[in-house]
């Protein structure tokens, strides 16, 4: 007997249980869902315990002497005070630290990569396309240029969307909707892929109907 047989059958039954929801909510689905929630909560608890608390905090401080990690441990302990009503305000300090540190790291990163670099490339790629001789590329670049500018106009809140400005904003709305449609299509593909993975498991590993 294959040693993975029990695991395969268990996984298959759980998969079918979750899928039974598409017909109707039922007890079988509820049991599978509860198992999933319980196992995932337990898994993440163990992962965080061993990877963060033990491997970094305990080994780092006690065995490697990296006492700077104590700062992180203290901040983490302060976060737990939110469970207690009277001293719950203490939890705002580590939260402020996280918000500040993340903002400090991300502000210039996003500004450089997502703003300045994109502006640079929007301008120079469009101009390069003019002299490139590839009509397909030129049209694509002009569409990107138009979409970028009109999208920015749509999200400009300091002026009423009236007249020419409103017209340009309307074009921006169209670009946004077309983008959402494309993104939705990509997501449908992604969800189908996830379902495919499960169906492949059922047919290949469980029922062995296909190789």
């Amino acid at each position: 007997m294959d040693s993975t047989l029990i695991g395969t059958w268990l996984a298959a039954l759980l998969t079918l249980g979750i899928m039974s929801f598409i017909y109707k909510d039922n007890l079988y689905y509820k049991i599978c869902e509860a198992i999933f929630i319980g196992v995932s909560a337990g898994y993440w608890f163990i992962t965080y315990f061993w990877d963060s608390l033990y491997r970094i905090a305990w080994i780092g401080i006690v065995h490697e002497g990296r006492y700077v990690l104590l700062g992180g441990v203290i901040l983490g302990a302060m976060m737990l005070t939110r469970l207690f009503g009277k001293i719950g305000w203490i939890a705002r300090w580590p939260l402020a630290f996280i918000v500040g540190a993340t903002a400090g790291l991300k502000m210039m990163v996003y500004f450089t990569t997502n703003a300045m670099a994109q502006i640079h490339d929007t301008v120079y790629d469009t101009v390069t396309a003019f002299g490139g001789g590839d009509l397909y590329n030129l049209i694509g670049r002009l569409v990107i240029l138009l979409g970028t500018v009109t999208g920015l106009v749509y999200f400009y809140f300091s002026k009423e969307h009236k007249g020419l400005f409103g017209g340009v904003a309307k074009v921006g709305t169209w670009f946004l909707m077309i983008t959402f449609g494309a993104s939705f299509g990509y997501t449908v593909m992604s969800r189908m892929s996830l379902l495919l993975g499960r169906i492949d498991f059922l047919l290949t590993d469980w029922l062995k109907l296909v190789k």
Partner: protein
Amino acid sequence: MKKYYYWIILAALIIVLILLPKPLIVSPTVSTIITVLLGLALAGVLVLTLRGHMIGRRTVFLFIGVSLTLPFFMNYRMPIKVSPEVQTLYDAIAKLPPGSKVLAAFDYDPPSAPELQPQAEAFMAFAFKHNLKVIIMGLWPQGPQQADMAVTKVLQEPEIRAKNLRYGVDYVNLGFQSGNEFVIQRMGTSFSGMFPRDIYNTDYDKIPLLNGVENFSNIDFVFNLSSGQPGTVEWVQIAVDRYGVKLGAGNTAVQAPSVYPYLSSRRLTGLAGGMTGAAEFEQATKEIGKANTYILSQSFSHMVVIAFIIIGNAALFVGYRKSKQKGA
């Protein structure tokens, strides 16, 4: 029909499926007949809708399930054309001379495995066959485990098994490190600072492959497989923009649209997006795997979705017409 009859039918179906001869592959003629029947069924649904008989959600689910499942039994390979972004990714990896050090960042978990695991396996097989040295790490806890599964599978291939690749010399798995993009930031200065030991608790300094590998400047290429945050976006923002790393990526289809701006600004050297990207990557690297099997089912399901979008819009217009007639 009494409720327990459904359970009996389901159990009987499962028993029949278990007892059927395996593998169950139908001939191209039967495949074509099945495809035609599916098309006729959809046409029938459209006609019913135009006549005012709306179908329920469960019918849609049934069609999707059938369109995804039946192609598994069809002996038919879809022709796949490699798109420019996947070709760019492949070219960048193929250009690396033997002995080049590639950092493979596995930033995904099992739910994204259908899309990304085929890419991982194709990449690892290609890297091993072309004598690239692979350093594996992950910003997601299950990433290095997925990498391990890919490596284990790929090492079973006869051509790769004959090379007698050694852990620590030809490839190494540094494991997971928490900290998200701060990890990438720190790796710019020191890999050993973030990964003092590998996944088997061997010290960084004792691993032969990592001799002389201090930071990104000692890496020839970074290949990132990502399904969310932290992922490709963070790698571009920090590793590429700050440290000048050459980065190629494989993403899930959900994430791919948000990464395309980096591709068009050439911060990203190639992108394999979703299942299609995985199939194309397998074609480009000639490591045909699961993605090429799945792509037929994917295509069938997409056709069914398009058909139901048309049917849904037809239902909408029928509804408008009815309400106009009532109003008149």
